[in-house]
């Protein structure tokens, strides 16, 4: 069994979904997404958690240019594949209460995007990686621009141009690396074996960095993010924040640092500073937000900043923390956006100041909301804690100052998240919130699964950490050996 089944199934599913009627398309899409999840689970059970690449597929694609359709799964990819395949059915399920105009198209686009995302997470060929990267971008652009809010046109063209610009610089970096390889191959291992000069690596570093920093987003490349998240339909926001931004983080681990290790040793410090600024900046602005969805969007900048900081601080703990925090952040942010989707669907507004007392009328909803908030603020025994602890440890080992700044901001994050919870759920009921009805059916199912994942990963993260451990250690040693050999 090779990874190609995993990559092609969603494409086929996307095409098939278009043949269903609008009303049944969501069931079909959910079915396909669950089949994909089943496939991913069978991959996990057969996966040997060492540093090797498994389920490899490697067939010539454009051989005269050294391009192969080459993909495989190691520990790092496995975690990302699992995250994607778990979240996509949840996201589809979370749209069940929506009546989208021309609904089959949105489901087809979600499934097609899944193919792009999985390609990015498993590609071992630079060209394939780039194609997957863009194949994920086109559907999300259409999802956000077709079913989004009032300003969708202006906001989404900005989003598209931002990300497309970044990825073109990455393309140039990839082609440059290809031209340096002795056998003219786009294969990632040939890239890893290159020993480029500091100057060359600096170009490569920034070429990749711009693409990944825009996607994550890292300060100051984040300006597209809050608007896009706010204007997008909830399914789009979830795809973007839950899975797509992880493409950037994954890219840093897989493509940026190993391909430009010496430049990273020099420039990584500046990237770390940007990430830490992002943490503070995201938190401060989130504090002032009145729109719940926007608040979550800014808090996401802070959380992603911490993940990036943990990676740029370069330690095994930091990297492991990043892996698990990618999963946790994906689950929590999807939950958080779903919470706000439920609120705005019932009350017609997302303005926090208009709310209060919802816990009284919707006890089940309030429990789910509380668990997700606690996961987001990284309370021990929730999934957020494991990752943030490891990430802070990684940053702490690098410099105490950054760890202190980042750590204080996390506390700050707890303040605004809990304050949001308090304002929305507690206090007195008003005319608006008295109409709130408790969650039911598919909503209950989605929130139930998310809460269960938050607690299970929080209590017993070991299996997840174990999946990626060997690959991360291997990566760390290879790269560290390279910059030990080239001290300056």
């Amino acid at each position: 069994m090779t990874v190609s089944i995993l990559l092609f199934l969603p494409v086929v599913a996307a095409v098939l979904t278009l043949f269903f009627k609008n009303e049944v398309a969501k069931h079909a899409a959910l079915f396909f997404a669950l089949v994909e999840l089943g496939l991913a689970i069978s991959f996990v059970t057969g996966f040997v958690p060492n540093a090797s690449i498994q389920y490899l597929v490697d067939v010539p694609w454009i051989p005269q240019f050294g391009i192969y359709f080459s993909a495989g799964i190691d520990g790092i990819s496995m975690v990302m594949v699992l995250l994607t395949t778990v979240l996509v059915p949840l996201i589809i399920l979370s749209t069940y209460e929506h009546q989208y105009k021309n609904g089959k198209a949105i489901y087809a686009l979600i499934l097609f995007m899944q193919a792009g995302l999985l390609t990015v997470f498993t590609a071992l060929d630079g060209f394939l990686f780039y194609v997957g990267w863009e194949a994920a971008l086109i559907p999300i652009y259409f999802i956000c621009a077709l079913w989004g809010g009032e300003n969708r046109i202006r906001v989404n063209i900005k989003f598209f141009i931002y990300t497309f610009a970044g990825s073109l610089f990455m393309l140039v970096a990839i082609i440059y690396l290809y031209l340096q390889t002795p056998n003219k191959l786009y294969d990632i291992h040939s890239f890893y074996e290159l020993s480029l000069s500091m100057k060359q690596q600096t170009w490569i570093f920034w070429g990749f960095f711009i693409a990944f920093a825009i996607k994550m987003p890292v300060f100051p490349f984040h300006t597209w993010q809050p608007d896009t998240y706010t204007e997008a339909p909830t399914a789009g926001t979830m795809m973007l924040s839950g899975i797509m931004l992880k493409m950037g983080i994954y890219g840093v681990i897989r493509w940026l640092i190993p391909n430009a290790p010496i430049a990273f040793a020099y420039w990584g410090y500046y990237a770390l500073i940007l990430s830490v600024i992002g943490i503070v900046y995201g938190s401060v602005i989130a504090f002032k937000q009145k729109d719940g969805k926007r608040l979550v969007a800014y808090s996401s900048i802070a959380h992603v900043g911490l993940i990036a900081a943990g990676i740029f601080a370069w330690s095994v703990q930091g990297l492991q923390g990043a892996m698990i925090q990618m999963v946790s952040h994906g689950i929590n942010v999807v939950g958080m956006f779903f919470i706000w989707d439920i609120i705005s669907r019932r009350l017609g507004t997302r303005d926090i100041s208009l709310m209060g007392g919802i816990a009284k009328v919707a006890p089940k909803f309030s429990i789910a909301f509380l668990i997700i908030v606690l996961g987001t603020v990284a309370l021990p025994l929730t999934n957020g804690f494991v990752g943030e602890f490891l990430l802070l440890k990684g940053v702490y080992n690098y410099t105490i100052v950054f760890a202190a700044v980042a750590g204080l901001t996390i506390i700050f994050g707890a303040v605004y998240m809990l304050r949001m919870y308090k304002n929305v759920m507690q206090g007195e009921l008003n005319e608006l919130t008295a109409t709130f009805t408790d969650i039911k059916g598919s909503e209950k199912l989605v929130l139930g699964i998310i809460c269960a994942l938050i607690i299970i990963i929080g209590v017993y993260p070991q299996p997840l950490l174990h999946l990626s451990e060997a690959s991360i250690t291997n990566l760390f040693q290879t790269v560290s050996a390279k910059f030990a050999a080239a001290k300056f």
């Binding site: 005269q64 621009a145 497309f164 082609i175 031209l179």
Partner: protein, 462 residues
């Protein structure tokens, strides 16, 4: 050679058919004749790329000429299929359209297979003279007349440059034959005569006029706008591709040893072309004019292959121009249909198209994505070849300029997509005739197939 003869005789047959009022037979005969020419042309393709010369070395057939003949003939067939019902609206003498387009195609086939500078010149002139007539074929239309006059004056001017350049090169080397000129360049090396260098510069000017590269691009927007849409389509695809094929054939065969002399000049031309084309396209309100300026910027990308001239240049130009041609055919096909209904060339004409015509909106989206160079479409493969070629010669800044331009181009190509999908307007369904469905569907499919699996056609040259 048979293909040139077929295409040269075909228009005469068509004129007679027109004379005997067999209007219905024009299109089938033209298409069948072109298919025959395509088959005879493709049959000359050899796996080892053996060249064989004809007419005492005036023409030389190799895989390069086969590939470019094939793409020119296929594009012409697609354009002719779009013309069903189109020319009848403009005039009563429709045989002359088919005939003149095919005369022009004869010139193009000579341009992609010449082996002698006189043949290059004759090919370009056969093509250009036909085009002067085609641009002005709406005899009573003011814009069409203006287009023809402008094109003729500018074209004649550039022909003068070209011819003077050829004369100077003849003066320096004593021959029109490409092999002899090349041997002369190799033996003379850097000590070659200033007369020769002047000749090369003048040829660059002449050819840049023909392909519409800045700063010799001033005729393009007005001519493209004034000419009937299908003629514009023919000029911006087949003619431009042939211009580049002729350009590359001459420079890779003869002037390669003195590349360090002319590449700086072309580098400046390329960068100017990219920026002028893209930035002006950004400000257009008319879709047709936007396509005209964007075709200037595509000329800029095509020039990459000549600036970074090397073994893969021919494949790069072939891939890029194939992608660009089929995407343009979709764009203009869509424009013609939309214009027939709304009566305007502007972007607003496309508002809300996706609601009533999902198929038309989808193929136009594929075309725009391909022109913008988004992966999984042929346009990306073309850009990828161009960037790879330029980077392989370490022209990093040139590629960065191209990247910036690719980003700018998103704005105007996406305006069409935004208008079709995200803006709403009261409109009726646009009627899409079966011929259009076939051509647009085929082109969209080809765009995606080439985008996913370029190996299918990239092996044609070499």
């Amino acid at each position: 050679m048979t293909s040139i003869i077929i295409i040269a005789i075909l228009p005469i047959v068509l004129l007679y058919l027109g004379l005997y009022k067999a209007q219905k037979a024009l299109l089938p005969v033209a298409v069948l004749g072109l298919l025959a020419a395509l088959v005879t042309s493709v049959m000359q393709w050899t796996t080892l790329d053996e060249a064989h010369s004809e007419f005492n070395g005036m023409l030389l057939y190799n895989n390069f000429s086969v590939a470019f003949s094939a793409i020119s003939i296929i594009s012409t067939i697609l354009i002719l299929l779009l013309s069903k019902g189109y020319f009848e609206k403009i005039s009563n003498h429709i045989a002359e359209y088919y005939a003149i387009i095919l005369f022009s195609l004869t010139g193009i086939l000579v341009m992609v297979s010449y082996h002698n500078l006189t043949m290059m010149f004759i090919g370009i002139e056969i093509m250009s003279v036909s085009l002067y007539i085609l641009a002005g074929i709406r005899k009573n239309d003011f814009a069409s007349n203006e287009a023809a006059l402008k094109y003729f004056l500018m074209g004649a001017f550039s022909t003068g440059f070209l011819l003077f350049g050829i004369a100077l090169i003849y003066g320096a080397t004593g021959s029109f034959d490409i092999d002899i000129i090349r041997d002369w360049v190799l033996s003379a090396g850097r000590k070659a005569d200033p007369m020769f260098y002047t000749g090369v510069m003048l040829i660059i000017v002449g050819l840049c006029f023909k392909v519409g590269a800045a700063p010799f691009h001033f005729w393009t927007p007005d001519v493209y706008e004034g000419a009937p849409s299908l003629i514009t389509l023919f000029m911006s695809t087949v003619v431009k591709v042939a211009g580049f094929a002729a350009f590359l054939r001459l420079f890779s065969a003869c002037f390669l040893p003195i590349a360090q002399f002319w590449t700086p000049v072309l580098l400046v031309i390329t960068i100017l072309t990219l920026f002028i084309g893209n930035i002006t396209a950004l400000y257009q309100q008319s879709f047709k004019r936007m396509m005209a300026f964007s075709s200037i910027s595509h000329a800029g990308y095509l020039l990459f292959a000549i600036v970074a001239i090397g073994a893969s240049s021919a494949t790069s130009i072939f891939m890029y121009s194939t992608a660009y041609s089929i995407a343009s055919i979709i764009a203009f096909g869509g424009l013609i249909l939309v214009r027939q209904q709304t009566g305007t060339d502007n972007f607003e004409g496309f508002n809300g198209l996706a609601g009533k015509n999902p198929f038309l909106a989808l193929v136009l989206t594929v075309a725009m994505l391909s022109l913008a160079g988004i992966p999984l479409t042929a346009g990306f493969i073309g850009k990828f070849y161009m960037f790879s070629g330029a980077l392989s010669q370490y022209r990093i800044w040139l590629v960065i300029v191209a990247v910036v331009n690719a980003i700018i181009s998103i704005f105007y190509y996406f305006r069409v997509i935004i208008a079709m999908y995200f803006r709403s307007a009261d409109r009726e369904q646009v009627e899409v005739p079966a011929y259009y469905k076939f051509v647009l569907g085929f082109s969209a499919l080809a765009t995606i197939i080439v985008g996913v699996y370029p190996t299918l056609i990239s092996g044609l040259i070499k």
